[in-house]
Structures are given as structure tokens and as C-alpha cells.
């Protein structure tokens, strides 16, 4: 069947982890569910296509995590990375409700892998999906099919009919035709707006032009805009997002994990002027990778270059794109289209500030520069062994945080005519589109998946409850 139902119980907008958790949960409670995914089938699943793991609270080691990660520790981590910029009650709720995440996922076909070498230091706190996010999506969609959920691809929701604060129908463009589908409840799990560069400019100005979109190109924030226009309250600012350093040669969209470059802590990072601008060795990489997207975004042309020498080039994961290479700093500068004199000066000053000491690549080794601004606090070895390698890096945005405000039932919060906050009767939100409630700023790996799963399930429960009443 390729048509579109005219009336269902629950419409889920989106096709990623949050959407499918909501759809499956509602369908298991006997609701008739329609999933409207804007992307074609091959690219279904939003950013979940590119994820790898979920951060969830657990009290003991299992087959796929190496130890306990109690609720309190998770909560402290979240407070630290967001610098308190979070709805503390919702965060606590999220973390407590994450405890059965792995069980729920396993029961719905998702498979985890044992903690292996590639699990980037997160093997205690995060469970890794065998095969990654697309494998997870395949499992969810197979489950959805068994449950009789109607999933439609290339089905873009263009507008919502909302009467007296209640959702009644969605306007859908599907296979070139306009449809109106009625439903008794709506779950919006359509992602952030990171693929809409114009919207990004509201937060970032012209710098947004230099951003690459790590994930799906279909997350343009249409649903977020519609809900905001109808008076939904928002959480987080327009410039807040999860962004990391990725190879500048990556595709504009959908480059995913393989475009990531991990050279930073063993490198010196220079901007277009050939100058350093931040302490590359501030902390271990898993704790710092998420700040470099924002740092790069503030550089000229939103680009910077990681410079390493032969003795450092094998210390981090190999990159998908080969680095530029030269036997001299001058040659490398030319290859990177930098001012050779400026780069030579930066490297010379940095090398002069390096001090002897033991280099330990796996731990904070305290091998710091002296008298250099900005300093390099760890792993500061001279860049002096040819050949030299240069990695051009740009900010790669994963997802935006600005979203609709929700309560613990995942109901979207509206402001009524008298200025009061009222939860929507039958509109729920889950995933990136409401991530700003939890993530006011900062990021910790695997939190996005937790938000999608927990609020997706809560939204599915709430929607199903409305239908059964």
C-alpha cells in the first residue's frame, strides 16, 4: 500500500529513534499509528541513521557496558556539560526513565555489541548498537511493520490544523499530492533545524554558511516553526547545538561519523592566519571533542587546520580523507593555502615553548607549554619530525537545541491568550525538537539518543492514552 490513510489515531511526524519509539509504544497500546517520514526510504531515520550509542543509567555491568552508571552520576555529568543550563526536573526524569533503555531496545529488535576497542572511552556509560544507528532503525521499522504501523516515506508535513489548542489534522505532501490526515493525537519527532542554513544564521550570522551538516539534510525544522508560530514555548537559544570538528572536505550534508577527525589533542590547531587560538590539550578527547565545532565556527571562514608531525600522526583514528602532507612546514603551509611565514613562526614559537618530559598519549600527561598564549596543557611535544601533516577542519553541526518546551508527559507547552502556560491537549514532542529542555548548551555522547527514546516512549504512552479514553 502506498496511499495515505485519511484518519488514524496517532500521527507521528518524523522517522528517527524518537519517532519510532513513540509509534511503537502507541501501537502496542492498540492505537492506529501513521508515521510520516519526510526522507525517502533509503535515507529514513533522521540523525538516528548516524548514531552509534545511547547513554543510559544502569546499576551494574552487563554484556555491553563495563560497569554501573548510577542516576546521580549521570545527572552530575549532565549538569557539568550543560553548566547547569538545563531543566533540572526534566533532566532528572530523563535519566531515571533511561534505566530500562537497553531492555526496551533489545525487546524491539535492537542488538548491542560487547564493549570493544572502538567505543571511544564510553564503554561504561554508553551501550553501543551493533552496526550503529541504521541497524537500529532497521530493527525498529521491522517491529513497526509487525505491529501494523503505517509508515510513509517522502511524506512531508507542511502544516498542522490546531483548533482551540487541540490538534485535529495534518497537511501532508506525499508523492506530489496534498493530503489532509485527521488524528486524535500528534507526536512531533521531526528533528532540529540544522539543515536550514538561513535559520542557523539567526543564531550564528553569516558564519552559518561555513557549517557542514553531519547528519540528515531533511531536518529543516518545519514542525518546530509551525509550533512556534502557533504559540508553543521554546527552550534553548538558536545558536546552541551539538557541533564537532570534521574534515573540511566532507559533503555539505550526511557525511556522518566517518568525516570526524580526532587529531586535535596531538596537534596544534591554527586558523586561516596560521595562528593558534585555543588550548588543544585542555582535556582528554572524549571530554573535549564537542567544543571544537563551536571554536571553529568562530574562526575566519569557519576553518582551522590541525598540524601534526610524523611522530603524532598514528596516535589517533585514521581519517577518511588523507591529510595534506609535506616534508617542510613551509611546504605544508602552501598545501593548506596558509601564509608560510606565519605558520613557520607559529610552529617555531610553539616548539620553543615545549618542555622536556614524558609524553603519555592515553592520559593527561601534564606535558605543557611554558609562556605561550594560548597554552597547550597536555601532550605538548615539538612539531619537528617530518613529514608534516595538515587536516583542514570545519564545524560539523549534529543537531540544534532550540526546540519546543515540554513537560514530563512530553506535552508541548503553549502560551494562551492570557499569557498563561498551558500544556497542549494532544500534541507531544520527542527527540531533537525538544532537546533544548535538557541541553541548554554543551553535550555528552549518547544523550541525544536517550532524549529520543525516553520522551518518544512517554509521548507514545500519552498519545495512546488519549485514544483509549
Amino acid at each position: 500500500m502506498t496511499g495515505l490513510s485519511e484518519k488514524v489515531d496517532v500521527i507521528v511526524v518524523g522517522g528517527g529513534g524518537a519517532a519510532m519509539a513513540a509509534a511503537i509504544t502507541a501501537a502496542e497500546r492498540s492505537a492506529r499509528v501513521l508515521v510520516l517520514e519526510a526522507a525517502p526510504k533509503d535515507f529514513r531515520g533522521g540523525n538516528t541513521r548516524h548514531v552509534r550509542n545511547i547513554r543510559y543509567a544502569h546499576n551494574a555491568a552487563t554484556d555491553f557496558v563495563t560497569g554501573a552508571y548510577p542516576v546521580d552520576e549521570y545527572y552530575d555529568d549532565l549538569l557539568r556539560v550543560t553548566q547547569g543550563n538545563t531543566d533540572k526536573e526534566l533532566s532528572r526524569f530523563l535519566i531515571e526513565r533511561s534505566e530500562d533503555a537497553a531492555d526496551w531496545m533489545t525487546a524491539h529488535g535492537v542488538r548491542f555489541q560487547p564493549p570493544l576497542s572502538g567505543t571511544i572511552g564510553l564503554d561504561r556509560t554508553n551501550a553501543f548498537f551493533k552496526g550503529g544507528g541504521k541497524a537500529l532503525l532497521n530493527a525498529y521499522y521491522a517491529t513497526a511493520e509487525k505491529l501494523g504501523i503505517e509508515c510513509r516515506y517522502e511524506a512531508e508535513v507542511t502544516d498542522l490544523v490546531i483548533e482551540d489548542g487541540a490538534f485535529t489534522a495534518a497537511r501532508v505532501r506525499h508523492q506530489g499530492r496534498e493530503h489532509t490526515v485527521e488524528a486524535r493525537a500528534l507526536v512531533v519527532a521531526a528533528g532540529g533545524f540544522q539543515a536550514d542554513i538561513d535559520w542557523l544564521k539567526e543564531g550564528w550570522g553569516e558564519a552559518a554558511e561555513g557549517f557542514l551538516i553531519r547528519g540528515t539534510g531533511y531536518n529543516k525544522g518545519r514542525m518546530l516553526r509551525v509550533l512556534m508560530d502557533r504559540g508553543a514555548q521554546t527552550a534553548a537559544e538558536a545558536d546552541q547545538c551539538h557541533a564537532i570538528a570534521i574534515d573540511a572536505r566532507s559533503p555539505k550534508c550526511d557525511g556522518g561519523i566517518a568525516t570526524r577527525v580526532d587529531c586535535v589533542i596531538y596537534s596544534i590547531m591554527v586558523n586561516r592566519k596560521g595562528q593558534r587560538f585555543y588550548d588543544e590539550g585542555e582535556d582528554i578527547w572524549p571530554k573535549r571533542y564537542a567544543i571544537w565545532g563551536r571554536l571553529l565556527a568562530r574562526q575566519e571562514d569557519q576553518i582551522a587546520f590541525g598540524i601534526v608531525d610524523a611522530k603524532a600522526n598514528d596516535l589517533f583514528m585514521p581519517s577518511m580523507y588523507p591529510p595534506l602532507k609535506s616534508d617542510t612546514i613551509r611546504g605544508l603551509a602552501k598545501a593548506l593555502e596558509l601564509d608560510p611565514g606565519a605558520l613557520e613562526k607559529t610552529v617555531a614559537e610553539y616548539n620553543a615553548a615545549c618542555r622536556p618530559g614524558e609524553f603519555k598519549p592515553e592520559v593527561l600527561d601534564g606535558l605543557a607549554t611554558e609562556g605561550l598564549t594560548p597554552p597547550k596543557s597536555n601532550w605538548a611535544r615539538p612539531v619537528d619530525t617530518p613529514p608534516y601533516y595538515g587536516y583542514p577542519l570545519k564545524p560539523g553541526i549534529t543537531f540544534t537545541y532550540l526546540g519546543v518546551k515540554v513537560d514530563k508527559q512530553a506535552r508541548v507547552q503553549f502560551t494562551d491568550a492570557k499569557g498563561r502556560t498551558v500544556p497542549a491537549a494532544n500534541i507531544f514532542a520527542a527527540g531533537e525538537v525538544m532537546s533544548g529542555n535538557i541541553l541548554g548548551q554543551g553535550y555528552a555522547g549518547g544523550v541525544g539518543m536517550a532524549i529520543g527514546l525516553v520522551f518518544g516512549r512517554v509521548a507514545g504512552e500519552g498519545a495512546a492514552r488519549l485514544v483509549s479514553n
Binding site: D42, F43, R49, H50, R52, D63, F64, T106, R111, F112, Q113, P114, L116, S117, G118, F128, F129, K130, G131, G132, G133, K134, A135, N138, A142, P251, D254, G256, I257, A258, T259, R260, D314, M317, P318, S319, M320
Partner: protein
């Protein structure tokens, strides 16, 4: 890629197979999401650069389970167009051609279906012609209470088939040694690497799907959903083959060591081994052929279908004729059935080094290197 294109692979296209495999491994090594599926990705992660020989090794370590294809965020139509199972299948076929002996016979891999048919018809015809030439019709058509040697003297059978078999084994061994020399130079096997690789081969470990104990769902074969069915059919084929081989070996020992001559009773060891193995060799190949017919072409190297099917069909026919021979060995059909059976066996032995069977040789060499390197 059409059949003719792959048949006429020349030097530069051959380089393309390595180039494509290298491109994929470079992307995969920056991603590593599939490390939980099989041996290929952890083996890849032990390296940062890939020589042609490394890629030959990785391609032969790949069991074609397709887990990584359906899980891949970069699979076509994504612009990175990552399709590891197909690229490795093509490269594997290429290693079969490059490592065979004598080199001028490497073209047989591409015309394997034809080769198998011709040799089978020829083999049956030859054996039939020979027995009619050397034996009077009343012997060929007569009843011998299961005594094959009444039609074909034991020595003739043993020497001719033993000779062909040894040739096949020699060519296979040569391929193994040359492949191993190239892909794992100066490597010394240990008891541990041999035991480990043998375990991985006998259990078909990498058709299991990998992951957490009790949650291994098998291959994405013949299509996207997970299934152990390919592993089962392959195990039946594999153990069926081994049991039939064991039956022959036991028979040989009986004959030479104890002087016990065939025919052996229905409950004797050689007949029981042969019958059980034979049943495996009926179900297994038939199952694998039927799976192949519905397999997702996206993950397959279509050019190898003739080779795969030819080998499987031959195994099936060897078993079918062997069981028929057992069933009717007391009748006047024995002589003719024997000729047909021996003709198929002759074709099987002759095509062993020039068809799908060779995958076992290079797969085992790859499993050995994999186990050696796992220790580091």
C-alpha cells in the same frame, strides 16, 4: 557489472578492484560501526594503510554475511556508495584466479558452469565407455551383490581416482601456500592460531552475526532480515562433504589395513558415514542454491553465480548418484549407476581447484592470519 565485463577483467580493472576495496576500508576505518559483526572490521582496525595483499586477506576473511551492508549509513544511494560485501566478493573471485595453478587455467573460474557441465558429461561418458570397452555386457549389466570391483577392478579405481584427487589437493595446497606467503609473509603458525582458525572454520563463526552471546542473529541473507538458514545449509554441505570423505577414508583403511573388501553392510561404518554425509550433501547444496536464487543482488557478485551454482549442483549430483548406487547396488543397474556416480566424482575432483571449492582454502588462510593478529 555484466558477466562479460568481469570475464574480461584486465590489469587496470584488476587494480580497480583493489582500489575500490581500499577506498571502502579507508571509509570503514574512520567509522568502525560494524566492528561487532565479523572478523573483517577488527582486522581492518589493526591497520591504518592497506596494501593489495592486505585487501586480498580481508576480502577472503569476509564471509559475505551482509550485516555491514544493511547497517551502513553510507550504502548506495549515499554518495560514499559503501558496499563492502559486493566489493569483497569480486576481489575474492579475483584472488581465486590469481592463485590457481597452472596460471593459464585461471579462466576456468569464469566459465565454471560450462566447465562443470562438460566435465560431468565427459566424466560419465568416459567411465561408461571404459567399462563397456573392458567388460563384456553381461558383467556391466549383471548382478554382483554390490561388488563394484566386479565391474571396475579395485586397483584401477583406486589409482585413477586417487591420482586425480592428489592432483586437486596439490593445486589447492599450492594456492594456499602462495596466498599465505603473499598475505602473511614470515608468519609462523602457533598451536593457538591453528586451533583458533580451525574452530572458526568448523563453527562458521563469522556467519553467526557477532555481538553479545545469545543475541547473535546470523546473516542478512538471502535478504535484509537476519537468519541462520545460510549457516545451517552451509554446515550441512560442509559436514556432509567431510563425512563422505571420511567414509571413503575408512573404506580405504578397511581395504588396505584389514583386508576387508567392499561391499560393506548397511550398518557398517563407511556406509553409515556415507549415507549421513550424502543426505547432508543433498539438503545443504539444494538449500544454498535456493537461497542464492532469491538473494539480494545488491550484495552479490552476479558474475560468480555460475561458479557457485555449478559447484553446488555437482555436490548434489555426486550425492544423489552415490545414494542411488547404494540403493540399487544389488540389481543389474549397479554397473551403470557406478559409472554415472564415478563420472560425477571425477568431474568434482577435476573442478575442485578451479571452482567455488577454493574459497575454503583462502578463507582458512585468512582465518589463520586473523587469529594470529588477534593476540596483539
Amino acid at each position: 557489472m555484466s558477466r562479460t565485463e568481469i570475464t574480461e577483467l584486465q590489469g587496470d580493472q584488476l587494480a580497480d578492484l583493489h582500489q575500490e576495496a581500499r577506498r571502502l576500508m579507508t571509509i570503514c576505518n574512520a567509522c568502525r560501526y560494524c566492528e561487532g559483526y565479523c572478523g573483517v572490521f577488527p582486522a581492518m582496525m589493526r591497520q591504518t594503510a592497506f596494501s593489495d595483499r592486505d585487501l586480498d586477506y580481508l576480502a577472503n576473511l569476509c564471509h559475505g554475511c551482509n550485516g555491514c551492508y544493511y547497517a551502513c549509513q553510507y550504502a548506495p544511494p549515499h554518495e560514499f556508495a559503501v558496499n563492502v560485501p559486493q566489493a569483497f566478493a569480486r576481489l575474492r573471485a579475483d584472488t581465486y584466479r590469481r592463485y590457481t595453478w597452472p596460471g593459464f587455467l585461471s579462466g576456468l573460474f569464469q566459465r565454471n558452469g560450462t566447465l562443470v557441465s562438460v566435465l560431468m558429461a565427459g566424466g560419465i561418458g568416459l567411465v561408461l565407455a571404459l567399462i563397456h570397452l573392458f567388460q563384456p555386457p553381461e558383467v556391466v549389466m549383471g548382478e554382483h551383490a554390490g561388488n563394484f570391483y566386479a565391474v571396475i577392478p579395485h586397483n584401477v579405481m583406486a589409482w585413477s581416482f586417487g591420482g586425480v584427487f592428489l592432483y586437486a589437493v596439490g593445486v589447492l595446497l599450492l594456492g594456499f601456500l602462495r596466498f599465505r606467503r603473499d598475505t602473511a609473509p614470515r608468519a609462523a603458525e602457533t598451536a593457538l592460531s591453528v586451533a583458533g582458525a580451525t574452530h572458526d572454520a568448523l563453527t562458521m563463526k563469522y556467519m553467526g552475526g557477532g555481538g553479545v552471546r545469545g543475541r547473535m542473529d546470523g546473516c542478512n541473507y538471502p535478504a535484509e532480515s537476519f537468519s541462520q538458514v545460510r549457516r545451517w545449509f552451509h554446515q550441512m554441505t560442509f559436514w556432509g562433504f567431510l563425512l563422505c570423505f571420511a567414509a571413503t577414508s575408512v573404506g580405504t583403511i578397511y581395504h588396505y589395513l584389514f583386508g576387508w573388501q567392499a561391499p560393506y553392510g548397511y550398518t557398517s561404518l563407511p556406509v553409515v558415514l556415507g549415507t549421513v554425509g550424502g543426505i547432508g550433501l543433498l539438503i545443504g547444496p539444494l538449500g544454498l542454491i535456493s537461497l542464492k536464487r532469491v538473494a539480494d543482488p545488491a550484495t552479490q557478485d552476479g558474475a560468480q553465480r555460475g561458479m557457485d551454482t555449478g559447484f553446488l549442483a555437482l555436490l548434489f549430483l555426486v550425492s544423489l548418484t552415490g545414494l542411488a548406487l547404494l540403493l540399487w547396488r544389488d540389481t543389474g543397474y549397479m554397473g551403470t549407476l557406478l559409472a554415472i556416480h564415478l563420472g560425477t566424482v571425477l568431474a568434482l575432483f577435476l573442478t575442485l581447484p578451479y571452482g567455488k571449492f577454493v574459497h575454503a582454502v583462502y578463507r582458512y588462510a585468512a582465518l589463520l592470519r586473523n587469529r594470529r593478529e588477534q593476540r596483539f
